[in-house]
């Protein structure tokens, strides 16, 4: 197998912009163009343009597509209306999370499943295996799409100048086919930043043209190219989980505090789905013996907690940091962490993070750290 990183259709653009590139799940991706803090703040106050072409698109079609996805995933996909999208998960038989996903229903019998880059092959393999016996086709469309995201308060205005699509009628977590700057695109009102924004799935051949048109329209209102580094701090402030950090194969959705995505009653004829038995047990455990809870931590000092650092109270380890970074919006280090239930209430006293041997004090807060004003 080749170990050379894959390049997106926008690779030449990133290089011409002087981006610092990084290997991410086998892809060479832009980490930042100049200052990640400036990019972060631009997304919060104006807009940022992201290349997310590493995400894994899988198309599911056929008369039994809805029934199949109800069986393969934990959500009630059959109840998603055409043109809408849903956040869901795929788990193993033992209930462990294989990935979190967004499923777009593009037509009566057509869905697009978007997986994380690092899990795309796992998800594709699992879906392919689980499709046996269903009148449904699972297609690897990773090479069929480039993905650009425009995120931030200026994003509706920027996109409106380039499309006739009814953006006002496009709700959060919805997607419709349209034309943007003369390019055919699936326009979705989704994102991973906590801001209003759009994700544009296009042919890789059209990616440069669309990038150029978006930059031309967005630059006058303060839009800047934005890399993966600020994407991580944006999603962290918004309290959004990241696979490999807040979500792993060792956790069920109930352990991750996301039991609400599991639907035991489906719209299919059958309510059976992969992992059902293990998840029912996990749901019961969560009721009787609450697992560690995902909380927010805000630093009183300036030291930054990182993934894997122990959370402590009274000299004992009571949890573990899953993600941490200096928050540009709050001006303080923040973290997400799983902590024992008795220390999880916002305002709990005496909680700290062991930062290379020093116990630094942290405030326990409810997630998210940041919520946009509507």
């Amino acid at each position: 197998m080749s170990t050379a990183p894959r390049l997106t259709a926008l690779d030449a653009v990133h290089r011409s912009l002087g981006a610092t590139m990084t290997d991410f799940a086998g892809w060479d991706m832009p980490l930042r163009y100049a200052s990640e803090r400036d990019e972060h703040n631009a997304v919060r106050t104006k807009a940022g343009l992201f290349d997310l072409s590493h995400m894994g698109e899988i198309t599911v079609t056929g008369p039994a597509a809805a029934d199949f996805l109800n069986f393969a995933l934990v959500g009630n996909i059959g109840s998603v209306g055409v043109g809408r999208a849903r956040y869901t998960m795929i788990v193993a038989e033992d209930g462990g999370i294989l990935d979190d996903l967004i499923v777009y229903r593009l037509g009566e019998t057509e869905y697009m499943v978007v997986a994380n880059a690092s899990n795309a092959q796992v998800v594709l393999d699992a879906l392919t295996a689980r499709a046996e016996g269903f009148d449904a086709e699972v297609r690897d469309d990773r090479d069929a799409y480039a993905l650009l995201a425009v995120q931030g308060p200026e994003s509706p205005g920027i996109l409106k100048s380039l499309t006739d699509a009814d953006l006002d009628g496009l709700k959060y977590y919805a997607g419709l086919p349209g034309t943007v700057a003369g390019v055919s695109a699936l326009i979705a009102r989704t994102g991973y930043t906590g801001e209003d924004g759009f994700e544009l799935f296009v042919s890789p051949a059209d990616a440069e043209k669309l990038w150029g048109a978006l930059m031309e329209a967005g630059t006058p209102v303060g839009m800047v190219p934005a890399g993966l580094s600020c994407r991580d701090t944006l999603r962290l402030e918004a309290g959004m989980p990241l696979y490999g950090h807040e979500l792993t194969a060792e956790l069920t959705p109930f352990d991750a505090g996301l039991g609400r995505v599991v639907k035991f009653e489906k719209t299919s004829q059958s309510d059976s789905f992969v992992g059902r038995g293990a998840l029912a047990a996990a749901a019961e455990r969560a009721e009787t013996a609450p697992p560690r809870k995902l909380v927010g931590l805000v630093a009183e000092g300036r030291r930054v907690p990182r993934a894997g650092f122990p959370v402590v109270a009274d000299g004992k380890v009571i949890g573990e940091v899953t993600s941490g970074a200096p928050s540009p919006t709050l001006g303080k280090p923040i973290a997400m962490a799983y902590v024992d239930a008795e220390h999880a209430a916002p305002g709990t006293e005496g909680v700290g993070v062991d930062i290379r041997g020093t116990h630094e004090p942290y405030e326990v807060v409810a997630l998210p750290f940041y919520k946009r004003q509507k």
């Binding site: 610092t20 980490l31 930042r32 200052s35 990640e36 803090r37 580094s229 991580d232 701090t233 300036r302 030291r303 930054v304 990182r306 970074a325 200096p326 280090p333 290379r356």
Partner: protein, 125 residues
């Protein structure tokens, strides 16, 4: 980026000024600052500390990671840059000037410090 000719450099990406009365100023290079990303926290050695060439004497924390700060020479710390403690972004905006980190009275030097041209070649490789 260009590395000032009058400075000397370590392979750990510190720069060292010419000495005056045995005291040199130390910072990290623009190359290192760019690699770190936005520096958000700096823990510098304190005045009176003794530092040893090649050993950790502080930390620079950026958005994505924390890096040890190494002493390029052995000696006694005679000043730490409080401006950087207050505003760590100086390390990014002016690594060779206002973003200096500490001043050290040199008692020993390793023999592998690099000239500007050697450091430029080192970081190009």
């Amino acid at each position: 980026m260009s590395n000032p000719q009058q400075l000397r450099y370590s392979k750990e990406h510190e720069w060292l000024s010419a000495t005056e009365d045995g005291v040199a100023t130390v910072g990290i290079t623009e190359h290192a600052a760019n690699a770190l990303g936005d520096v958000v926290f700096a823990q510098l050695p304190e005045v009176g500390d003794t530092v040893t060439a090649g050993e950790s004497c502080g930390e620079l924390e950026s958005t994505k990671s924390v890096s040890d700060l190494y002493a390029p020479v052995t000696g006694e710390i005679v000043a730490a840059n409080q401006d950087v403690v207050d505003d760590p972004s100086l390390v990014n905006s002016a690594p060779f000037e206002g973003g200096w980190l500490f001043k050290v009275r040199i008692t020993g030097e390793p023999d592998d410090l690099l000239s500007a041209d050697e450091y430029t070649a080192f970081t190009a490789g």
